[in-house]
Amino acid sequence: MSKKLYTWLISSMAVLLVFFANSGVGPNSVFALYEPDIPESLKK
């Protein structure tokens, strides 16, 4: 059970990070004054 929960947590975190990454690639600007380098895999 705990293994399943751990896997779910890790996968959810990854999904959330992909969501943040996509928000940075879209036409909207990042709120902060610094803009990280967009990874090559997201530029395609």
């Binding site: 890790i10 990854a14 690639v25 036409p27 990042v30 610094y34």
Partner: protein, 207 residues
Amino acid sequence: MIKRLSLRLARALGRQLPASEGEIEVYAYGLEIFLGTAVKLLLIVVISLFLGIFWPSLLVVLAFAGFRIPGGGVHLSTYSRCLFIGLTFILALAVLAASLPADTGVLKSMLLLVALLAVCTIIVWVPAGTDKKRVTDPGDIRRQKIKTGLFFLLWFAACSLFIHRGQSTYALALISGAAGGLFLVTPWGYRFFSSLDKMLNGKEVSA
């Protein structure tokens, strides 16, 4: 620092899943955006609570981000500069809003002036890109102008409501936050922050 930390955390996450090198890069990029924004917002909350200007700061951030996110604008080259200059910029606007006495007439004039700047900025410069990211698709450009325009209407209504209710500090916070956010979208904002960046680059090289 945020870049390195994000990459280390992303690698650790990648080992658990497991994930490819490309996926780890995407996680690191997402983490960099999340951590960078979270650290900055947390510091704004803590410092503004300490200074007793939490609500004006929150309104400055809302107005600033509301124009900045769909409108784009200038970015600095390093996170530490962004953190220090961004914090100073936001908190200075909040301190001004909290300490300047402004009567209704002055507030109405300021609101009209910033509204005029907002309309010009939306028509001419939104969405303002950077070397790293430029919006070129006509459909995207139109969508970003509409999003910024809708936020402009919401911002104008909120400012008018605060002025009508005599809450000058809140109205001034929204007006100054918008002026700050819009300034970054204009060519003057680009010129100012690019010069600042170049000046700091020069100091880092000579140090």
